[in-house]
């Protein structure tokens, strides 16, 4: 399955963006988010970016006040996912221009569109920023 979910969480533990590629009920999601966020936020800079939780791995990275967490299967390449997180951030940066947490919050649907262009059904689709952003830019122009 590859990627199971992608979360963006701020330092206080509030979820800013959540995209799940496998179905979990609302209670499960909240519980999961709470557990994972607690684990990741408690770690310091020196520690490894990979956390094992239940039967999958979480790869996380911190950018300013926002944590990007990606839950993946056990057989997925963690370093590649780390790169993917960086690619995601760069893409959003190019679109929003110096993206910050507020940008994601107030333009949640755009962030989702971008993410959808990049990941579908748990697998990475497109890694070229130009290709990802072109449909979104078109849509912005149209509306």
């Amino acid at each position: 399955m590859g990627i199971r979910f992608i979360l963006m969480v701020n330092k206080q533990g509030q979820t800013r963006l959540a995209q799940y590629y496998e179905w979990l009920t609302l209670e499960e999601r909240r519980a999961l988010e709470g557990e994972i966020v607690r684990k990741c936020l408690a770690r310091n800079e020196q520690q490894c970016s990979f956390v094992e939780h239940r039967n999958y791995k979480i790869v996380y990275r911190r950018y300013a006040s926002l944590f990007f967490l990606v839950g993946v299967d056990n057989d997925e390449n963690e370093l590649a996912i780390l790169e993917f997180i960086h690619l995601l951030v760069e893409t959003m940066d190019r679109h929003f221009g110096n993206v910050c947490e507020l940008d994601i919050m107030f333009h949640l649907e755009k962030a989702h569109f971008m993410l959808e262009e990049m990941v579908m059904n748990g697998s990475i689709v497109e890694t070229s920023k130009a290709n990802i952003l072109s449909p979104i830019q078109l849509m912005d122009k149209a509306s």
């Binding site: 959808e116 697998s123 290709n131």
Partner: protein, 878 residues
Amino acid sequence: MNPFSSGTCLRDMIRAIRACKTAAEERAVVRKECAAIRSSINEDDQDYRHRNLAKLMFIQMLGYPTHFGQMECLKLIASAGFPEKRIGYLGLMLLLDERQEVLMLVTNSLKQDLNYSNQYIVGLALCALGNICSAEMARDLAPEVERLLQFRDPNIRKKAALCSIRIIKKVPDLAENFINCAASLLKEKHHGVLITGVQLCADLCKVSSEALEYFRKKCTEGLVRTLRDIVNSPYSPEYDISGITDPYLHIRLLKLLRILGQGDADASDRMTDILAQVATKTESNKNAGNAILYECVETIMSIEDDGGLRVLAINILGKFLSNRDNNIRYVALNMLMRATTLDAQAVQRHRATILDCVKDSDASIRKRALDLLYLLVNDNNVKPLIKELIEYLEVSDQEFKGDLTAKICSLVEKFSSEKIWYIDQMLKVLSEAGNFVKDEVWHALIVVISNASDLHGYTVRALYRAFLTSTEQETLVRVAVWCIGEYGDMLVNNVGMLDIEDPITVTECDAVDAVEVAIKRHTSDLTTKAMALIALLKLSSRFPSYSERIKGIIVQNKGNVVLELQQRSIEFNRILQKHQKFRSALVERMPVLDEATFSGRRAGSLPTAISTSSGAPSNLPNGIAKPATAPIPDLLDLSSDDVPAPSSSGGDFLQDLLGVDLSPTPAPSGADMPPKASTDVLLDLLSIGMPLPVQTGLSASDILSSSQDDKAPFVNFNGLASLSSLSANATSPANAAPMMDLLDGRGPGPQKSEENGQAYPSLVAYESSSLRVMFNFSKQRGSPQTTLIQATFTNLSSNVYNDFLFQAAVPKFLQLHLDPASSNTLPASGDGSITQNLKVTNSQHGKKSLVMRVRIAYKTNNKDVLEERQINNFPQNL
């Protein structure tokens, strides 16, 4: 415009929610917004639909239920404009999941959209389909998706490819249709399509083996060529990430090559060149490069290969290990675990580095390093390694101690060449981290101690010393108390001194003091106190001069609120007062516990790749009965080669224990491999599922009292005698009793092996003086593997049985289904019976016959009774 509809736009709502200071405020705001949205939906308001949906998405992300918005999604999808459709599909993917029936309504819209002229809309539909389609939708829309796989626009093709992945996952039968298209996708130039095409092929190979064959034959060359192109390609600004062109594509290609090469020498041959090239030429100073190297190493490890590439791979891993970045080290440790199976020698070279990683400050790395180290231990390096690990145990932090202790204990047990070294190490571990040591570990220790008869003196002295220093480690106290009780005379008389020991003088008073401390400490728990009481009784016979003092201590517990302790103290007191004559016979030295029957226990978390042989913890015949410490997955992981026969040596041994002859029987202290006593394994299976927690102390006394009811007074006393000569509670004699019945031949009838056609004889599964269980068999038409059993329980005693509960457990190659029983009250003297239906499916029908372990629990005369037994004599061809 409806006066009730929310006038706020999305931004304002978000601002309002952010401004809330407390959770209650936030809930109020959300509730207001939801109400506004709901009324707007009821009004069927066109203008603000997409705004409402965006709000709903935000609210759902916060965790509030939003199912009332689902129909809105559908309406939006059905509308004509692109923005509406966009939001509609987004909402669909976020708010709904494949199990909802509402999804079926979307199928038609999706079909239309898939055929739309505007390619963006087609893309949208594909995206949505790819994320949440269900099996029926997949079947309906598969032909459309296939057609789109050959669309002119690469965007559509890549989305169609990912959509196909989902379809074949949901409906594996459709996989054949996609094979050809997928193969053509592999020849693409566009990276997006290529990456998705590769993924599609990978998933096809996983789903269907003929796809795997096809790809292996036709596409390996092409893939190798593509990978070479990518590796050698010049700088391309679109896909470049820190100097490497499209690392994701690299990695995916490597993954697919891995799938194709696994198990096939031919394909692996063709890949060796390119793998070597990737491994050597990729720069490793950037994370992207390291990611590619990691994937490459994984592929090399998995394909059939000669040594050359493997050496290269392990060198790369070695370099990773010394990298300062934690992530890289973590990844390297992971891979090394897999490499150990293939080439242990090479990994040994890095042992020192791995040992350092165990002490690293990062928890993930520590855990991985410990697992890896566990695999690397062999006879040569076990001693220094254990020494290091025990030293580290002292300074490690609490969460890690549990893991570390478990690993050390299992290692020590596996590699213990001499008993004295084993006992030494275990003592150290107990003194350091006794509270983390699992029950079966110290049970095993006691077994070993009792077997090492020449070391008894040494052991008890060492324990005494350790006991004086670290009394807060509970398990240490228990083991020490047991040993002091057992071998107290050796302790006092300095029997069997070894050269390496320092002389120590322990008077009888000191020994009794020690045990008294164990009882009096308020941190001692029930088990320890119970063991201490028994130890005192033994000491009273070994040190007759101290009887009075010991009696005084025991008497203090007469009024204890805990039933077990009270019972013990009263009984022992009686023994001391009235029955001096056979007191010494009662508490003679324990017969040596048979190591062979004490089948090995499973160590702490073993890596799944390497699982050593084991059964689950057995019922230590005279230790404290085990239950549920082993994790459930381990227990259920019974190998299907288990021979379901009670180990006969165990049977004899128990018989001797409980027999009138209480002199110590020299048991075969064999170091032979413990036979896989699957009886005990199954027993644990049941104990996990028990409704009543098996309290080590209390249930024993219950069972004891109930069994006492049944037996004659003399036998009563014998039962008591054997109880007191056992160091702890007596779940086992009660368990042994049914086993003895089995061995005495009073058990189930002879194995009926005559089969005529489909008729199977009914079986008296279990019969005792109080209960009879009969099984009637029948087979379902057309499914010879499934047997329907009707179990009939008849009460043969004169008391009514209430709360009758029948449980059964089977090994892994069988599947069991229990229907509810007809009632749970069993009238007395066979006046009525309870029936219960079971269905057993035998996956090894014809090769193995059925075996089942059953547990029957009921209440009679206000006492709980528990009976367990194994049924082995099912007819052969069930």
